[in-house]
C-alpha cells in the first residue's frame, strides 16, 4: 500500500519539521493522495519507522506527527548538547495548569478558589511559556477573562489531544480505594535522587509507549 517513495517523502518532511506536522499540511503537500489513503499511509509509515529505528520515534503529538529521540538516550544527548536538565515547571505551576486543563475555559478567580491560593505568578509563567492562553470572556458580571490550554501544552506533555488526559474521576478512584499517596510526606526521600530520572536514567513507571 505504502510506496517506498511516499514513505521516504513523509519521513523527509518530518525530519525537517520543527513542529508536529498536521494531516492538513500533509494534504497540501500530497494533493494527489485521497485523505483516507494519506491517513493509512501515515499510520503505516509510523509503524514501519518505529520498528526500524531505535534512536528516534515517530509519534502523534498535538494533532500532528513528529519525530523525537527516544527518552532512553536523553543523558547522552544532554552530554552532547552540554545542556543541564531543562527547567521543569514548579509544582505550583503544574497544579495551576492541571486546574486549567481539567476545568477549561476557566477564570482567574475560579482557579484561585480551587487552589485556595491567591497570587498570579504561576499564571504569568504559564502564559509566558505559552502553555495557556486567553479564551475570550465569561458572560457574567465583570466579564472576566477565560483561560485554556494551548497546542504547546499538548506538545510539552506529549499528548495528541486533551482526551488523552486521564479523567479527574480516575484520580478520585485511587483516593477512594485508599491508595494513600503521601503527597507531602516529610519523610519522603531527598528530591534530587528521586523525582527526576536524570540520576540513573530510569524513567517513571508510566512512560508512554510510542504508538
Amino acid at each position: 500500500m505504502l510506496s517506498k517513495e511516499t514513505y521516504d517523502q513523509i519521513i523527509a518532511i518530518l525530519f525537517v519539521a520543527r513542529e508536529p506536522v498536521t494531516l492538513r499540511q500533509f494534504q497540501e503537500v500530497f494533493p494527489a493522495l485521497p485523505e483516507l489513503e494519506l491517513v493509512q499511509n501515515l499510520s503505516e509509515c509510523m509503524s514501519e519507522f518505529n520498528s526500524l529505528q531505535g534512536a528516534v520515534q515517530l509519534r502523534q503529538i498535538a494533532g500532528g506527527y513528529r519525530i523525537t529521540t527516544r527518552p532512553e538516550h536523553h543523558e547522552l544527548i544532554r552530554e552532547y548538547l552540554k545542556t543541564r536538565a531543562s527547567a521543569k515547571l514548579s509544582l505550583a505551576a503544574l497544579e495551576t495548569l492541571a486546574v486549567i486543563a481539567y476545568r477549561q475555559p476557566i477564570t482567574l478567580p475560579e482557579i484561585m478558589d480551587i487552589r485556595s491560593v491567591r497570587g498570579t505568578s504561576t499564571i504569568r509563567t504559564l502564559l509566558e511559556k505559552k502553555l495557556i492562553e486567553t479564551r475570550g470572556r465569561k458572560k457574567e458580571v465583570g466579564r472576566p477573562i477565560l483561560y485554556g490550554t494551548t497546542q504547546e501544552f499538548l506538545v510539552h506533555f506529549g499528548l495528541n489531544d486533551l482526551s488523552e488526559l486521564p479523567t479527574l474521576e480516575e484520580f478520585a478512584e485511587i483516593f477512594e480505594t485508599g491508595d494513600t499517596l503521601h503527597l507531602s510526606a516529610p519523610e519522603s526521600p531527598p528530591v534530587s535522587s528521586h523525582t527526576t530520572p536524570d540520576g540513573d536514567g530510569s524513567l517513571p513507571a508510566n512512560v508512554p509507549s510510542p504508538e
Partner: protein, 238 residues
C-alpha cells in the same frame, strides 16, 4: 501538639495554600478524610500558623481565612443538634463543604503529578528538525494575545520613561515655534489646536506653542476661533 520549637523546625514545610496544609495534616496522621476530627485539626492548623508567626514568617490572607472557616465549623459541630431542624432530614454535616473541597484539591494534586511525569518524559525526548532550511526562519515568535498585551505594556512603560526624560532635555524657543507655525500655515490655511496635542509634546512645548499663537494673533497673522469654552481652537491664517 508539641510546642517545642525544635520539633517544629524539623517539620517545617512550604505550603502553597491552606488546603495544602490541611491535606498534609490529614495525611500525616492517616485520618479518614470523610470523618475529620475537626477540633483536633483546627488546633493543629492554628498551632502551625502561630509557629509561622513566631518565626516571623508572613502568613498569607487565605491561611487566616481558612482558620476562620475551621473555627466556624468547629463551633457548629459543638452545638447541640438544632431542635427545629431535628424533625426534618438529619441536619447537614458542617464539614461537608470543606471535605469536598479537600477531595477536589487532592484530585488536582494528582493530576499535577501526572503532568509532572509526562513532562519528565517529554523533556528527555528531543525533537529533531534540520537547519538546512533554517534561513527561512527569522527572529520571529508565534504570538498570543498575552504577547500582544505584554508588548503594549512594555511600550507604555517605555513611553512613561521617555516623557520624563524629554522634560529635562528639551528646550524650545518662541522663534522656533513661530517659524514652525508659519511653515504650517503655508501648507494649510487653517487647523485646530488639538493638532499639537496629537503629537506627544511636553508641557513646555505646549506653553511655547500657545505663546507663539498669541504672538501671531498680535501680529495679525492668524485669527483664533473657539465655539465654546474647552472647545477646540480653530487657527485661521489672515
Amino acid at each position: 501538639m508539641n510546642s517545642d520549637p525544635e520539633t517544629y523546625k524539623v517539620r517545617l514545610e512550604i505550603f502553597e495554600g491552606p488546603l495544602d496544609l490541611l491535606l498534609h495534616l490529614i495525611r500525616q496522621q492517616e485520618i479518614d478524610i470523610h470523618d475529620i476530627p475537626i477540633a483536633k485539626i483546627t488546633d493543629q492548623y492554628l498551632n502551625y500558623l502561630q509557629m509561622m508567626k513566631d518565626l516571623n514568617i508572613s502568613v498569607a490572607g487565605e491561611f487566616l481565612h481558612m482558620a476562620a472557616t475551621l473555627i466556624y465549623i468547629k463551633s457548629r459541630t459543638l452545638l447541640p443538634p438544632d431542635p427545629v431542624a431535628s424533625g426534618q432530614e438529619e441536619s447537614e454535616d458542617p464539614r461537608r463543604e470543606l471535605v469536598e473541597q479537600l477531595i477536589e484539591h487532592e484530585k488536582f494534586k494528582k493530576a499535577a503529578h501526572m503532568l509532572y511525569e509526562k513532562e519528565t518524559v517529554e523533556l528527555a525526548s528531543w525533537p529533531t528538525g534540520l537547519n538546512e532550511f533554517e534561513e527561512e526562519e527569522k527572529e520571529t515568535v508565534v504570538v498570543t494575545l498575552f504577547d500582544l498585551v505584554s508588548a503594549f505594556h512594555r511600550i507604555v512603560e517605555r513611553y512613561k520613561e521617555q516623557v520624563v526624560m524629554d522634560v529635562h532635555h528639551e528646550s524650545v524657543t518662541l522663534e522656533e515655534k513661530l517659524a514652525e507655525i508659519r511653515c504650517l500655515l503655508k501648507v494649510q490655511a487653517q487647523f485646530f489646536f488639538s493638532f499639537f496635542l496629537q503629537h506627544r509634546i511636553s508641557r513646555l512645548h505646549l506653553v511655547v506653542t500657545f505663546l507663539a499663537l498669541l504672538e501671531l494673533v498680535r501680529l495679525k497673522e492668524v485669527r483664533l476661533f473657539q465655539k465654546a469654552p474647552h472647545d477646540d481652537i480653530r487657527i485661521v491664517a489672515c
